[in-house]
Symmetry: D2
Subunit: 337 residues, 4 copies
């Protein structure tokens, strides 16, 4: 199944095999109170507990055959890493070669169901992980009688804030073979945000301007608009309307219907449905102006300031938090509440 | 709140106060295996258990402030009675007067939360009950985090098979003040079915031709089409697709989106949403021809034979089952599977 | 069909027949540019043009058998009157008697399809109209191939801003037989808003505190949440996101899913679906605190200031605009954008 | 963008470059009455007319940037070819090499917007076409005010009846790089049907057992379940319920929500939404037994006989119709109406 790809984009040392990344796959959140997180993710959002250990929960959506969100009790709420699945073991070797060539920190780690995880820091400080082999489990997709809450379906994408969107994007396009779907520029044509993908959808990874690197949000695909509306009703029913940060609404970028919610530690989750395909060879990336009122919410709704300012700390390669730095672009878009 | 109504439709003995019936309100099903019924109504359909006694469950939808379906363990699956709520105690007296005048069997009974229930047999053998006073309970409408399964909302209507639709209908219109919404005639203009109402919707009571009297179905209002689709998915997920008898589809009559399912004893439940209002003083009943393919399902789908032939036994006034008799009209409509 | 009702709530001059009001029925908006209004109501919202005259359009939803919104080209955008349908001609006479007794201005008028309209000013300056006889037309409910845009279904309610909610509410309850569904009080238990009804739903008429009397909004029932989402998409597609003022969201009051939009003259339209029934004799009105964040939008979303401040002028009995006066309660609720 | 792939699955003549097929892309239907077809596809289904010529219409869904269905007036209703888009011009050359090696008929053709179309007959008589270069057009995805009818979104897949499912499937897997998602076997483990894909969804191509080769159906992706329900309502509203052949329902295979309709010439269209992703390297094809009642419709609904028996003729390489031949498997599954 692995498709060998010859990368011709860099001069150094002859052609190198470009790793074949399949898709964004899992994340690990550290949380301060695992029971509070369970109440949010399991009791209200209805995520399925695939495994449970002392101090950790492994969660998934109904289409996921693997765990896609690990919650781990720790003193500080952080994001341990963002993991991508690759097509074969050879792709992990190609990633090691890339790390060696570029002097990026890397090591082998292990996670439950994932015996060989390559932990690698990208040049911008993002804590990446890659794995091929995975223990998979019977999905719940057609076990509708076991679905709970709004029925989160599968991991969809991750969004990170970085101080230099364009430089970060170039590395993912050139070195990891991502393709650009949509992007936002300011009035000087500087990149404000970019949506890039491996899987043929709108994005596996979004990069947005801001002090970073930090996690902006982790997103799940939902079966339909109604299930997103139901999430709002459930949170309101539980007298936790403050967990709803933005939406529901229709994005201009991606055309998806969306909702942003915050977990008890402030980690932001997006529920997302109904975007479009990008598989065509002549797909032309869509360009938006930063202050177009239809860009963020097609309906023109304003975005709360917290959405631009707050994000989760990332765990550094040697422990502690990756320090967030400011970039050259400052300010936030117009159309803020 | 009670509105005194002077009935001028009969000659006997001067004007009589016509009872003010508010709406169809509850039923009592006897079932052979209460745990099997609980698995169906509570675990799969998500109905709320308002009360539980040895041998009985009292269920409701999320908008119901009272129990609307009582399940009682018995040797034979039957329908004990069909209960309507009336505007005041005086309306119960008016009903007693009617029973006395027409020689209909009646007595006072008691149910949980309902201390004064008038049990009355209509002239066609249907076991009716009427009550005014009721213990009500905090509804679950906005406790969305407590909703389970597809979220049945409130009792909507009851449908009975009777051997003489027209004569039965006339009695409910003349004596109980029902109003006609829609009706079906055969090619000789004989009434095949009638939908009659008190509450301003399409129907509290439907009468359909067939050996009877028997209960054809008991119906709950659903919040939307999606929740009806979800019911199908849940039953299929639980490997009980055979509980789905007909639909989902759009009725020609009533314009409602519907699904018919059968409980473990064969009692038929309809899930129903999205009909229309009938409050206008000049509302003209809608006439359908029996063999119009758009009548039963607007989309022309054929109806399974069981839907025309099978129905629940009713409990007689003195115990046992009301015997079902054939009427003059025989056969079933075209457009059957 | 008319049910005579003896009013026992006032002392003056013996019992009086209380008029039987069926439901809110139509309004007449004056607009400055009929073609701009047509583009909004017909081309985007998909309302059906039942009649067209020089300078006027008569619109309806797909369930309406009558026109329910008349647009008339005039210099100033106003609301000519708010019309209720009554059960019979005798109810119009009862309303005339009420006007005579209370010294309220009244006269007979005529509208297309409505030969005998009683125009009556209520004690608070609201321009009311009442009619019984109406030319009705074949509805479009099941002509789905003729539905356009999001498919507005039927008139649902009207909402007016008045300086004294409690006194206004009392008059409608006592004189016109309205019943209270929900109400909002401030911290001194003064009425801030009230939802009152005749039809068995949550409201035909809502009263909210503010300088007035003015029209806050005119509302249509929608078939489902999806059709409300579609309205947002259509307005955004047409590059008119600024027409969307508030929502979509779930109301705490009424539990309805809603959207507020503004027409080219600023008249506010609510699209509304999925509330509950209020027909029970012991229905207890629901009480909300003014600053409960779940009251206006169950999900806690904040409301734009314009929604509290802007409203349409009403036409006075003798022409011109009804002057808006301030009440004793000032300020707007917390939870404003 | 083209990814060179070395095929190692055949022994003949050293490694051959395997063509990189992106996705199923368009079809051409011949129809007897173009105006009747326009009434169906444009007026009722709301497809967008991208181009119009004398005797031909070029249609697309709202996400399509190209035409995806061409209708051409002819004496006989047939399917001219089934076209796939490839990653680059080199992939067309690789396909010519394959045709030469296997002795398959091929030639260059031209279509509007598609200057270089490779017409190729597969070994089983299916009329294939492949193209890389295509004139693309601004999509209508976010022009919601221009959407009509239920809003068909994009081409999704094609389904053909063939007499030997397994042999046909093997050729597509081995020569064209398709991957297997789901399959059905009879009680002797013989392949009854197979769903195979290139794009990372459930299928670009489905193969089902029956006399053939014939076109079983051509499918469009829909935005949601509601839009599929709306299609039924629209066809019923237009008094054409007979155009609805099967559904709506939930497939067991693919988990998609579906509807099958027939155009005026009997060509079958599926409207389809909500399946799942198959991009993972260890995705294991899902196996179904032919007579599992949940396979075809998860809810257990029976399938009309016409759905198994009727299909569209395919155009032969040299004109006329490809003759349909019977295979070794006969009969149709249980669970038929």
């Amino acid at each position: 199944m692995t498709e060998a790809q010859v990368s011709g984009t860099q001069g150094s040392g002859g052609p190198r095999i470009r790793p074949n990344i399949i898709r964004i796959a899992h994340t690990v959140f550290t949380v301060r109170n695992l029971e509070a997180s369970r109440a949010f993710y399991v009791d209200l959002l209805g995520m399925n507990v695939l495994h449970e250990e002392s101090g950790a929960l492994y969660l998934r959506g109904v289409e996921d055959r693997e765990w896609t969100l690990k919650l781990e009790q720790q003193v500080s709420p952080r994001v341990r890493h963002l993991a991508y699945r690759v097509a074969g073991e050879a792709d992990l070797d190609a990633l090691v070669a890339l790390a060696e060539q570029q002097g990026l920190p890397w090591r082998w780690e292990e996670e439950l169901d994932r015996p060989r995880v390559l932990r690698l820091q990208d040049p911008f400080g993002l804590p990446l992980a890659f794995y091929h082999q995975s223990g998979t489990h019977r999905w719940l997709l057609q076990d509708y009688h076991l679905h709970r809450g709004p029925g989160l379906q599968r991991v969809d994408h991750v969004n990170v804030m970085v101080p230099d969107v364009e430089r970060t994007m170039r590395w993912y396009l050139d070195e990891l073979g991502f393709r650009l779907s949509e992007y936002t520029v300011d009035e000087q044509e500087r990149y404000w945000a970019a949506w890039i993908q491996r899987r043929g959808g709108v994005h596996d990874l979004a990069l947005t301007n801001g002090p970073g690197p930090r996690l902006h949000h982790w997103a799940y695909w939902m079966p339909d608009i109604t299930s997103i509306i139901r999430t709002c009703d459930i949170l309101a029913g539980a007298r936790q309307p403050e967990r709803i940060e933005r939406g529901p609404g229709r994005h201009g970028v991606s055309n998806a219907f969306f909702l942003y919610i915050r977990d008890p530690d402030g980690h932001r989750i997006e529920l997302y449905t109904s975007d479009y395909l990008t598989v065509d060879p002549d797909f032309e990336p869509i360009r938006w102006l930063r202050d177009d009122p239809r860009r963020q919410t097609l309906w023109g709704a304003r975005t709360p300031r917290s959405w631009f300012e707050e994000a989760s700390e990332l765990e550094a390669f040697d422990g502690g938090a990756v320090p967030a730095v400011e970039g050259d672009l400052t300010g936030i878009p117009a159309h803020v509440i």
